[in-house]
């Protein structure tokens, strides 16, 4: 197998005496989509925070494209290609939807090279921003203040911001939470397109098992901060630890899905 794009080795963080992420070693490869599941408080978001640099590791390491990035800031890791969308949205509330995306486009342009001189590319930035707005189906809301968006649209805007940074690692933290049923397919299709490109490494924290089944090549299970299962979706979903600790007595686990039957 090709060398991993993103890898953690013995990654651990302690808050006081509590190990929120406890000795997690795991490797993620290009062209794959890994779902990370587990009970609330299992350490899923904290694991993301350690990889993207929002939190400093107590011990262990994070490697991106073979480079040890454990001591690098979030911004440095983002420049190297880690993109992150959050469970709790992070936007510029008083800027419009389009301005939020354009800032991300500009940040990418500045990071990329000096090919981009300052203002001559303003129109180009606007076009790029428009492209990402269309990707998430927010083009009709481009002039609204981000703060005025309903929750589901904020999630979509955040995905657009991540895409505008053109990372090669995508980390989605419950991307469809709070989205109405007619909006969910927009985001799922987008993730499917990213996956189909074949060169992206995609990580997804998700409670909706129907979403996990339709997207993931692999499931990693965290429980009390530890990696307790890792494998193909059918095997992992059928495993006793997932059945007991996570799904309860809802083996089909469409609890957060939309099936009526």
């Amino acid at each position: 197998m090709s060398s991993p794009v993103l890898e953690t080795k013995g990654l651990t963080i302690r808050f006081g005496g509590h190990a929120a992420v406890d000795d997690v070693s795991c490797a993620f490869h290009a062209g794959s989509l890994t779902a990370i599941v587990g009970p609330n408080g299992a350490g899923k978001t904290t694991y993301f925070n350690l990889m993207s640099g929002q939190l400093p590791a107590t011990s262990g390491s994070v490697h991106l494209d073979g480079e040890d990035v454990t001591r690098l800031s979030t911004a440095e890791r983002a420049k190297r290609g880690i993109g992150r969308a959050f469970q709790i949205t992070n936007l510029f509330p008083n800027l419009t939807v389009a301005e939020n995306v354009r800032l991300a486009v500009q940040a990418k342009a500045r990071a990329a090279a000096s090919l981009w001189s300052r203002w001559d590319h303003h129109a180009e930035w606007i076009n790029r921003a428009e492209h990402f707005l269309e990707e998430v189906n927010l083009q009709d809301k481009r002039d609204l203040a981000a703060a005025a968006l309903p929750h589901g649209d904020k999630r979509k805007l955040e995905v657009a911001l991540m895409m505008a940074l053109e990372p090669h690692v995508y980390m989605f933290d419950e991307p469809t939470a709070g989205m109405s049923v007619d909006e969910v397919p927009v985001v799922l299709d987008l993730i499917k397109r990213l996956k189909a490109a074949g060169d992206k490494t995609i990580l997804l924290v998700e409670h909706k098992m129907d979403v996990v089944r339709s997207l993931a090549d692999r499931i990693v299970v965290l429980h009390n901060g530890q990696l307790v299962a890792d494998g193909d979706p059918e095997t992992v979903i059928a495993s006793p630890i997932v059945q007991q600790a996570y799904l309860g007595s809802m083996p089909e686990a469409d609890s957060a899905g939309e099936a009526v039957s």
């Binding site: 350490g43 049923v181 098992m209």
Partner: protein, 241 residues
């Protein structure tokens, strides 16, 4: 409509330049669970916030238990026995879980049996009782937000997407808990995208679009009628698997 605990009649709400609610007519029957559905931006959260007095209605009347509450302050409205679980959760990060709960218990220290019931529902809250709520995970903060709203009996609870970010096993427990609240004659108005959850609890359903209620009926009828779902919600829920 003496059976209505809460009713909204022609309610309009403006947020800055935006005209969000455009004449909402909604009846929440006493002792029942009413589900409010609709696409993103339809006005569901704004409806709950307007009922709580967090946005002032610009027109129309809101009646709770026979008295008009439109335009009253949020604390006044809360004192009438209305609990609210906001979309943003609103937990106090620097206070402990216990302190967050104590603040929500307006009638005195929380009743021990009720706390045990809540701990059974959300074991994490017991485990982290003396820790700052800011250390909770996203899903656990959501649990705390719900726990605060049910820490003492309420006449009406408004809940904005309680299942968001919650693991499947816990959602199952929440269905049981909400049924128990209903048995205690608590009236619930629930905004929810998880249709299976909503359908297993809802007595009646209202669907919003563009700031208005476009459908009112029984949940059972909507759950059984995929053509109606397609027409009202823009997608066949059964097909979306």
């Amino acid at each position: 409509m003496s059976n209505a605990l809460l009713s909204l009649d022609g309610v309009h709400t403006h947020i800055g330049q935006y005209h969000i609610l455009q004449g909402v007519d909604l009846v929440v029957p006493r002792g029942e669970l009413t589900v409010l559905l609709g696409r993103n931006g339809a006005g569901k959260t704004t409806t709950l916030r307007t009922i709580m007095g967090l946005w002032p209605p610009s027109k129309g009347t809101i009646t709770f238990d026979g008295q008009s509450i439109g335009g009253r302050s949020t604390p006044d409205i809360a004192r009438l026995g209305i609990g609210y679980v906001p979309e943003s959760m609103g937990v106090f990060a620097d206070l402990t879980v216990a302190e967050n709960m104590r603040l929500a218990a307006r009638l005195g220290p929380p009743d021990a049996a009720r706390l045990d019931w809540i701990f059974g529902l959300f074991p994490a809250l017991k485990r982290f009782w003396q820790l700052p709520a800011g250390l909770l995970s996203g899903g656990q903060k959501q649990m705390l937000s719900i726990a605060r709203a049910i820490v003492e009996p309420k006449a009406l609870i408004l809940i904005d997407e309680p299942t968001k970010g919650i693991a499947p096993a816990i959602i199952e427990g929440m269905i049981t808990a909400f049924k128990e609240l209903k048995r205690d004659r608590t009236t619930i108005l629930l905004v929810e995208q998880n249709f299976r959850f909503a359908a297993s609890l809802g007595d009646s359903v209202a669907i919003m679009d563009d700031g208005r209620i476009v459908h009112r009926g029984s949940m059972k009828e909507l759950a059984a009628d995929s053509a109606l779902q397609t027409r009202l919600l823009g997608l066949s829920l059964a097909a979306h698997q």
